[in-house]
Amino acid sequence: MTDVLLKLHDVTRRFGGLTAVAGVSTDINKSEIFGIIGPNGAGKTTLFNVIAGYFPPSSGKVVFDETDISGQSSDRIARRGIGRTFQAVTVFQDHTARENLRRAAMVTRRYNPLVYFSSRNAGDESEVLQKMAQFTGLEPVLDNRAGSLSYGQQKMLGIGMALMGRPRLLLMDEPAAGLHTSEKKEAAQLIRRLRDELGITIVLVEHDMPLVMSVCDRILVLNRGTPLALGNPAQIKADQTVIDAYLGEEYDFA
Amino acid sequence: MIEQIIVNGILASLIYILMALGFTLIFGIMRIVNFAHGEFYMIGAMVMLMLFGSMGLPYFLAVLLAGLLGGLLGVVAERLLFRPLVGDELAGMIMSLAIGIILQSAILLTFGPAEQSVTRPFSGTWHLFSAAVPWDRTVVAICALLILVIFYLFMKYARLGLAMQAVAQDPETASLVGIEPGTVYASAFGLACLMAGLAGALMAPVYTVGPYMGELPMLKAFVVVILGGLGSLPGAVLGGLLIGLSESVVTTLFSSTIALIVSFVLVLMIVVVRPTGLLGRGAR
């Protein structure tokens, strides 16, 4: 049994004449926290979306746990055990946090329409729901309307929802976006806990350098669609080509 | 034989183009699928019946008045009924449906369901190679061409025409530049209905006139516009020619019903494969 959960083989994605991502190959190991960074326009989001199933790769393969998932639809990929969070707050605003989590739990049920026919108050997911509510600290606000929660809480809810499907791999799209400094520290802690306590492998795309450096085991740096460097935070910080690529942008590598 | 097919095709195309241009203009600018478009055609024809058939006004004057009346009706409909629904594509579509059935019922109640004839202003045929071309359809064709040329010049050079194109491309920027979208909506809708009314008036003496006569032209306009691309004016012209000619071929070889089936199958294929049609822009 290999330790690699996600393999990217020479992944390329073109949009018409524009090559957004070219020749990305890397292995992501189980229980790893893997970061993808790069200056603006580097192709991080495109790569993320290819993995998550929003576009098929123009060439190359995405292999999840020894199954080729290239080009599969986003919902199929979700059902395989790959969850994702969104950069902007994405929750069902008019429903309670509890209802949001409950809806997210549906993916864990066996895929049989008749099962869904049963009443809305099926109890089987309430255990998992409680656990996730505790994990994300949302217990006190479970019965509040999602739209009334604070930005940070809504982001937490988004993460909780992604967790309800009990994913083995979690794709996080700029988890620190829009958070205050203190909230960012909490986010970093949460990401570590996701791996330590729940055994989830994490791939995140991020702009916030302190977070990335503090939380990731390995980092892939993209520049203009092509891989620039791959290594642990210390290696990346010291890599001259990476520093050069970021020249002209304000980043604190500390 | 071939010349006849081509001539028939082109004669039909011109009317389809008139209908399609209006239809696509409304969609391009207001994102409304105007299911009532055929009814404005029918109203043009009914007005022609009254003015030219009954009251004996001169032909060209009657055509003009019929068109203007249709246009006026369109402006009123837009202002009162469509304006409140701007942005809601589905509601706009359903509203056009409602207007269509109201117009059809109104005419049905006023004139009865029977089809009537309008005396032909011109008779006889002339020959283009081996094809027989009726004079009345020739006049229709010439008038249609004239209308198309005027329409083209209007869109290209008149301020209102350019404003319409601007709103179709990007309504927000257009309003920033000072173009009042309301005026554009009303004019575009009025213009489209004017053209439909003119088409109906021109065709009134060719076949018969009745409350249901708008349904078929509406179907054809629909097919043409989907083919050419919803919102594309050149697409409407290209689509009109293609549909008019292909229909002529299929009708001669098989039947008009089969021609219609072929057209709709074409619509299905286009919407599924390339919804923007031949010349349309990407959907917003």
Binding site: A52, S73, S74, D75, A78, R79, G83, F86, T90, V91, F92, D94, R103, M106, V107, Y111, P113, Y116, F117, S118, S119, R120, A122, M161, G165 | V33, L81, P84, L85, E89, L90, A91, M93, I94, M95, L97, A98, I99, G100, I101, I102, S105, A106, L109, L219, F222, I226, S255, T257, I258, L260, I261, F264, V265, V267, L268, V271, V272, P275, A283
Partner: protein, 305 residues
Amino acid sequence: MRNRYLYLILVVLALVPWLLGNRYVFHVATMITIMIPMALSMNLMLKIGQLSIAQPAFMGIGAYGSALLAMRLGVPPVLALLAGALIATAIAVVVGPLFLRIKGVYFVLLTYAFGQIVNLVFQEWTTLFGGNNGLYGIPKFSIFGVRLTQSPHYYALGLLLLALFYALMRRIERSDIGAIFESLNENEMLSRSMGSDALGWRIGSFALSAFIAGVSGGVYAFYIGFLSPETFGFLMSVDLIVVNAIGGVASALGPVVGAILILPLPELLRDAREYQLLIYGVCLVVFLLFFRQGLVVFLQRKRRA
């Protein structure tokens, strides 16, 4: 809670034809019981956020299908009815994956084109469908050897099917399927990221709506005994839209209420049948401008306020 009063009224209304005993009233009532499932069929599609005007075409497929199976192949009416509806469902399943990737206005146009094609085929293929002159001589419906010969029988049959389909729709609404539909409508990207097979659910809805329409078509065929392509044209879609718009989309009760209010109108104004469309048109305009959410929601809101 409030719905109980509404249900009571509906049950009482349902009994009216027997109280009046008038054959004409039974006819109108039977037609309503055939059209309400059609309205529900459109409502089901509206629940996934799509307006489908293919429903009359599916009704026609069910109607011609059951009629021909009973007439030409001697299939017993109950089986023929089911088979006709299943043919409609099968066609929906075949075109579904193609159509349901498209959304919004373009989807409506697709169903419009589809409906026109089906209609034209009914008109053109005269050897099979009888063309514009119609298909005559459809046998009477019979269950377990009992032949249904009179309106009241068909009314009862219609009521039974109507109740069944309505119950089904309500169950779907209240169940997790309803929650999934809501989620897909609210935020498809989010729902799919949680694993909801958006296309699959849409095809399922489309297929079920086709089945319901097909059954209604079959019942219509056996009841009237005669079919013509005109019936299953665009105009019926107008009726269905009016009923759903006025009754309201949010709950299956909406089209039921809408149908009961709207569908008898042309019969009440029997001498002025031409006014029917005019009234529909005006009602539609009024509702689009002022009550876009539909009557049922409007009434429910009023009670809450």
